[in-house]
Symmetry: D3
Subunit: 279 residues, 6 copies
Amino acid sequence: MHSVKQFIETALAEDIGSGDITTDSLVPRGKTGTAEIIAKQSLILAGLDVAVQVFKTLDPDLNIKARCTDGDTLDTGAGILSLAGNLRSLLYGERTALNFLQRLSGIATHVRPYVEAVQAHPARLVDTRKTTPGWRVLEKYAVRLGGAANHRMGLYDGVLIKDNHIAACGSITTAVARVRDRTSHLVKIEVEASTLEEVAEALQAGADVIMLDNMDLDQIRKAVERINRQAIVEISGNVSLEKLPLLAATGVDIISVGALTHQARSVDISMRISPTENL
Amino acid sequence: MHSVKQFIETALAEDIGSGDITTDSLVPRGKTGTAEIIAKQSLILAGLDVAVQVFKTLDPDLNIKARCTDGDTLDTGAGILSLAGNLRSLLYGERTALNFLQRLSGIATHVRPYVEAVQAHPARLVDTRKTTPGWRVLEKYAVRLGGAANHRMGLYDGVLIKDNHIAACGSITTAVARVRDRTSHLVKIEVEASTLEEVAEALQAGADVIMLDNMDLDQIRKAVERINRQAIVEISGNVSLEKLPLLAATGVDIISVGALTHQARSVDISMRISPTENL
Amino acid sequence: MHSVKQFIETALAEDIGSGDITTDSLVPRGKTGTAEIIAKQSLILAGLDVAVQVFKTLDPDLNIKARCTDGDTLDTGAGILSLAGNLRSLLYGERTALNFLQRLSGIATHVRPYVEAVQAHPARLVDTRKTTPGWRVLEKYAVRLGGAANHRMGLYDGVLIKDNHIAACGSITTAVARVRDRTSHLVKIEVEASTLEEVAEALQAGADVIMLDNMDLDQIRKAVERINRQAIVEISGNVSLEKLPLLAATGVDIISVGALTHQARSVDISMRISPTENL
Amino acid sequence: MHSVKQFIETALAEDIGSGDITTDSLVPRGKTGTAEIIAKQSLILAGLDVAVQVFKTLDPDLNIKARCTDGDTLDTGAGILSLAGNLRSLLYGERTALNFLQRLSGIATHVRPYVEAVQAHPARLVDTRKTTPGWRVLEKYAVRLGGAANHRMGLYDGVLIKDNHIAACGSITTAVARVRDRTSHLVKIEVEASTLEEVAEALQAGADVIMLDNMDLDQIRKAVERINRQAIVEISGNVSLEKLPLLAATGVDIISVGALTHQARSVDISMRISPTENL
Amino acid sequence: MHSVKQFIETALAEDIGSGDITTDSLVPRGKTGTAEIIAKQSLILAGLDVAVQVFKTLDPDLNIKARCTDGDTLDTGAGILSLAGNLRSLLYGERTALNFLQRLSGIATHVRPYVEAVQAHPARLVDTRKTTPGWRVLEKYAVRLGGAANHRMGLYDGVLIKDNHIAACGSITTAVARVRDRTSHLVKIEVEASTLEEVAEALQAGADVIMLDNMDLDQIRKAVERINRQAIVEISGNVSLEKLPLLAATGVDIISVGALTHQARSVDISMRISPTENL
Amino acid sequence: MHSVKQFIETALAEDIGSGDITTDSLVPRGKTGTAEIIAKQSLILAGLDVAVQVFKTLDPDLNIKARCTDGDTLDTGAGILSLAGNLRSLLYGERTALNFLQRLSGIATHVRPYVEAVQAHPARLVDTRKTTPGWRVLEKYAVRLGGAANHRMGLYDGVLIKDNHIAACGSITTAVARVRDRTSHLVKIEVEASTLEEVAEALQAGADVIMLDNMDLDQIRKAVERINRQAIVEISGNVSLEKLPLLAATGVDIISVGALTHQARSVDISMRISPTENL
């Protein structure tokens, strides 16, 4: 939560800017109200803490109660968050909180059928770095709530040697040795391979993970056999929901799918606000 | 462009973090290369300046040439950007630049069929505030490239009086008068109305724009007739691509569609990098 | 309030820098005290929330009580804020809080006679963008407390077509049509006109507001007649306090006066601090 | 200049926000123009570098030529800055650059008569910490250009022992000794004294500077005599332009005047922009 | 404390980055625990408030009790801080809090023998600007806790005229006069002198402090005699712990020693965490 | 380099603050000069790019030439950097650039003898997270230049399961399984073990790395034998320079030493500035 505090400030500033001219003109400063955030379709919830933080950033005195937990599967009409307090604060935060919830829950919900498509096999479904700039930590969190796992977070926490790196070094063997020498012993080394020859060289070089890049089913099966559990096998590229069961059946360990994040769409979540009656 | 510079810095920091451990281990500091960013599907381009700024932020010495212009319709294989210079800089910026281009072009491309669905009528298609937090200015720019227009940018540059504002004031009439008194004479006042009675009151109160909230076709037609061009008429809510032509045919001026942004998905754009051969 | 939090941090950093070397050397950490902020001249108060936020930023444990409300007219000696708590915190925040209060109340107080000069007429007095960089939202708030209204907040929330924009487009007619096409339907379009011909063209083009730039009284009267309530009429330029009643009598709707902000001077407000006696 | 770069970014963001909707709609991206910034009244110039930095921040490719130097006395009509380049950049920066120049030159111009009022005497005129929050470094720079000098910059670069500090310590003697012990040997120690007894104690305690707080002329003369050049003598409080010559004649070394900054008003400076003719 | 809040945020972001993947995987969110921070060697404590702020920034609900005070001399095993609350928060903050405490206490502890080496003489031991970038305020605070004093904080709060400044002006005399004219009357002027001739000129010019640069003992004694208490005498350069008593015996007022900060090493402090037993 | 730009800005602001009052008073704005940065002792250089960036941040027009490369072993008197350009810029940046170079080269130089102590064995020497807050990336870079390697960068890029994590999970076996399930397949899992039983359990659980915590030589040898190359073996705790050869001889793979960073001291580097002679 701590790492996204600044981003939440930015998001609020983006929507409120120099001031909510409608609310500031019409709602008296001391006026109070209550609000309910509600699922308008069935969904897997993600972003509850972010939504809470949006409102707390605006007004630490709001009374906020969670009705469920991130990762829960909700039906249409299910309550997510109940809020009570200053009416202006509720109106200021409404859109920003919903925009976070809708996108993050959209990802979690979108990921689920992909996860189900491979669940008959031990293969693990993972995301990629194809995320919305500024949203990496949040989107990867939503992917986990949807049931898939994360690939590396960025360029800093995992080694992935691609064709250009190999070209710059001369060979896979040199590349693996050099990276091994220069990075932490806690970081694994993955090598991208497009042919069985490259697979063999990567294996020989001691790669921890071998990524089979855009190979067809037959090549994948041969590569899995060749690697023979001496390295983790990942496949990547041209992975559709339809092809997933077949791919998982090849015996690969990891299937990375950019679509988990970049093809997700927001789900429908709304907020009903009620001003407190004057007595 | 100036207003997104800080956001681009944040996006790069998110991906590179404490350093690209693969590239820094394997690519010599002085090594150079070239790169081409290419459309992998037909799309409407958006985000060219952002992509250029990503690379300039990393390395002001890169040589960058645009192959087309934002708003262009590109076929599969079309070139977008050509780059030449330090190979590390190209590798550092690749994913971030593509993530921006893929999402923004995704929105522009997604918007186009909505625009075509209303083009037989004078109605104007506009977006909403249902955008990705942090991305408001960029996503609204992509919407314009797709051929639609923008609703207000945030809570600060347009008045939209909703049910809670009216409840806090007592009546539409009071609300419009109060806002008129307290906001700039350059800002228009929009009132949300759910019934024809509310439409009548908003009109009488002098609303500049009346938003018909979740009305059916018949109600919309009656409202348009009742308003009789004395105010701009906007419809919002439950607007699907399929229903758009019918809705546009009612004679409304503005149709706002949250789906323009929150239902868009990234399009496929890639970057081919080639290290310069050593002579 | 939320939007100025960062600015208050900056202001405190500017005054305190690497530390208040006098107070830190002489006042024991646990020492407490009380303070009263007091008007030293008659004034219209503005900035109470900002002053409170200055002290809360430094020390959330201070006990703070407002003695009046922004917009109140205070006599010499009137109490504004009572504070109690850590003595160091009171001393750290004193000058910054007063500097905010003195300038903002200075503007509110300065604006009042301008407002009175036009009150016999329906014309509305508004400010301009001639504000102190960094202070736009605060100064425009003080202008409202003084009884005048705000023009647009910045370049982003209202269209004002000036001579250079017209020159870049070819004509007023083209300019208005193009802006109408490219901006939100919630933003009004204002056109600057220096001659009656330009007024006529702007009116014909459908401008929502026409600004008469530096016209004399006779021209203004003719323009008002010509426009005949088909657009809002604003005058701007060479507006002195003395000429205001005459200008307002012409029947214009809006009179914009840069002097409301850029000719205001701080009023005198002071803070009396008393260390708590040791028992 | 380096220390105000961030502030200039903030000021531009404040005015431009999510975009200059008029200019972006009407001025083609590649359109060029020229501009002249001109004094509209006689003034002492301050802020030239800030104005240049405003434009360079927006567009490093603008061609900018200074027509004079900060501190120059300009007549009405004198040229200040000539600019040439992208027309959008000129329009984006116009208001922000002028707002800086108008306020800073306003201070320099306002300070000059105060300086002249004391110039027959060796007394030095200095400013105070009563500056516009956010503007301390800039306003103190403008004061110097007007011919006066600066008091300490903030709470961090000079010791000023006031009544509350003395009360917290027990006596002036204790306070001076304690500060001497705890602060750098490069920082002078000033003590505020309201009576001749306090003056005597401060002198005895070894104060480097003694501030006579709100004393009348007679008391001041006695204090100056008593101090007899063993410490620097400063007077503060109730200093009007009219009383300055009398006060300076008492033989004090320093006269601090808050009005130098908080009573200054902007001077009139404008910018004439001309689009380049199409050939 | 207020001025280092931002730096503490930066330090936490540096260690936690996109998340503590070990703790987040293994420690349930609601799990609680207690912790003790303990001296593992004898030391002078510095940084208690910083350590507290590290944990409060992460989690305002932690219960934190100080077992001692900054400046205390602690034996091996002495308790410094007791904490209780959310176990994740304790684990997130552990390393960052310790890194601050270890370095700051390292400086305070390192300074002490230098102070003892001069305590038979009135000479004051001070630090320099040779501090760890980003840590100036904190390191100078630790120096004071170790018993030494501070030289100026930066280039902004004290004048030190060195050879290059003199060369740029023509002479010491001109330099002192010019600085006197252009800086606040609360700032003292120090001149660096390498020869007795320069000492004489600085004295004549009215320097408040004269720094004897790299002089031998004999030269220092002559300079002290020559200055004869008409200015503060500082020595700097080639000052080792061994030579300090001899240097102090020359009668100089100030001895500045860069080694106080740049030769200090961290002391050993650890944190023992205990998860709360489930009942 | 990109990731430390902001930190360099902070460091410059810390030293220059509201302005270099000596230089600004005495050195004319247009005055130029040259400078040489020189080693004053034998050292291993680290921080060249940071020093260059310090000066470029202040003044992009300075002419800067590197005389050597990071990692070079320099003798006393060796030239590091030559600079030419604006004299003020050289004076502003001097101390900050030197403070970076002195500390970073201090670490690289300090690390070297530790590296030599193990070079007869295959064991790899690595640093820890005991770094100066704010300096992690820079200090770990200096460690590599000294010839050692890096452990994980922070809590985000490697799993290290310690006693508290195990206690919160129940057992090493559960902990390893849970982490494996929840983190990226590119991150290795290290388990801290204090006894041979724990070593056995960690091995059985599939830990990639086993850290032997504070074991004596005999226990270490047994653990190495027991692990038998099925996992990487790391030792940590109580590692002195003297014991290193013995520890390395046990056959462990990794020896982590906090002292590499937290016991390093700055080396002596200075900058000689020469104003350009006026012709």
